[in-house]
């Protein structure tokens, strides 16, 4: 089994997953942190659902929604030439959906950690909502959002269930570390490669988690202004 190809596929899928999720998850986290609206609990529960659903079930739902027989799947495959099942885009979508709740939750926490009184005082000093977001809120929340992206990267690297169902096990396309290790378990001579991939996976995950912790610490230090809320 080509270890380099497996690593490259995993890194491609995990990186694309982070890039694809970054803007929607940040927007969603900000919206949930800063707005009260009827049905917020329901929206929050729907956002978090991929975290509690068995990944295989998420994969099945994705296959139903994005497979070639679905409206969305056939549009992407036939009109845009991007198949959303049994392809690398499918692996990216699966990893993004499964890790989306983590991204939203960390982004939400990051925005909740920014003192709303700073935003208020910035507006009193003439800053528009957009300027406040750009110059005050986002820079203060950024370490938390970056921490979330590292967590999502690590989660995407380890994603197995949904990816196996919706993207399959195509060498060089969708065979990520987790899927490769599962495949190697069925091979009597695959122990060495499986151990190597497990070690690499463990190393990347530990580095990502350490980065996550460091960024969270930075977020807490940066946004401290003290005092009680208005």
């Amino acid at each position: 089994m080509d270890v380099d190809a497996i690593l490259w596929t995993s890194l491609q899928v995990a990186t694309a997953c982070v890039i694809a999720s970054a803007i929607p998850a940040t927007a969603c986290g900000w919206w949930l942190a800063r707005h009260e609206f009827p049905g917020k609990t329901l929206v929050s529960a729907i956002t978090l659902s991929p975290l509690v659903l068995p990944p295989v079930v998420t994969g099945y739902l994705l296959l139903e929604a994005l497979g070639r027989r679905s409206v969305v799947g056939s549009f992407f495959a036939e009109t845009l030439g991007i198949p959303l099942s049994f392809s690398q885009p499918a692996a990216i979508v699966a990893a993004a959906v499964v890790s989306f709740p983590l991204f939203v939750a960390t982004a939400r926490l990051a925005f909740e950690g920014v003192d709303v009184r700073l935003e208020g005082i910035a507006r009193v000093h003439g800053a528009s909502r957009q300027r406040v977001f750009r110059e005050i809120t986002l820079p203060l929340a950024l370490p938390g959002i970056l921490a979330g992206s590292l967590l999502v990267f690590a989660r995407a690297l380890g994603e197995f269930g949904a990816t196996a169902v919706v993207a399959g096990n195509i060498p060089g396309e969708t065979r990520t570390i987790a899927i490769a290790v599962y495949t190697l378990l069925e091979d009597p001579e695959g122990d060495g490669t499986a151990a190597l991939l497990t070690g690499i996976s463990l190393g990347i995950s530990l580095v990502a988690i350490a980065g996550y912790e460091a960024l969270l610490r930075r977020q807490r230090q940066k946004s401290q202004v003290g005092g009680r809320s208005c």
């Binding site: 009193v124 000093h125 005050i136 940066k222 202004v225 208005c230």
Partner: protein, 214 residues
Amino acid sequence: MLKVVCSHVIPDGPRLEVSLEFGAEGLALHGPSGAGKSTLLHIIAGLCPPTRATITLAARTLFDSDTNTSVDPEGRHIGLVPQEPLLFPLHTVRDNLLFGRPSSPRLDPDHIISTLGLDSLLQRYPANLSGGERQRVAIGRSLISEPLALLVDEPFSALDPANRAQTANLLRESITELAIPFLLVTHRREDASELVAQHRLLVAGRIQPESAQS
């Protein structure tokens, strides 16, 4: 002239029932903690929507619950120096001071900066300032934004006597130069006496009658 008629239920606090009118001669509102003084400032600045109120500044309606009028905080041009300075942590002192500077300034920011003794602190970040220095930056930030009215909440609480006198002078000088309505909130009447002649006592959300003021 800034006019406020306000009725507001403060969560876990008293009901605020206030009618005030003040101009460039200034008004000091003093009273015990929890009387609703800071909440009133936040209502006027647009940071806290009141239950019912009418707020006008120089004949311009900033808030009117009867007509559903509410000007955003950034459109009110009201300066607010909060009790806690609330400096932007990632901005240097200089960037904090110039945050709300108008495009055609009337006041010289360098004069304000030097009077407040902030020249040597311009490149520092708020985390590296003392409580008094932060308070002076917050005052400077509001003055440099050249507001149409100025609301100041306990401006001297973190200042030593020397800085306190300088800051009081600068506030007096700037208010005279800008000729804007000025409302000072403090729990110590002595603080208010240095800056304005008119005083009102606020207790449990209500302005006390003249006989109770002394």
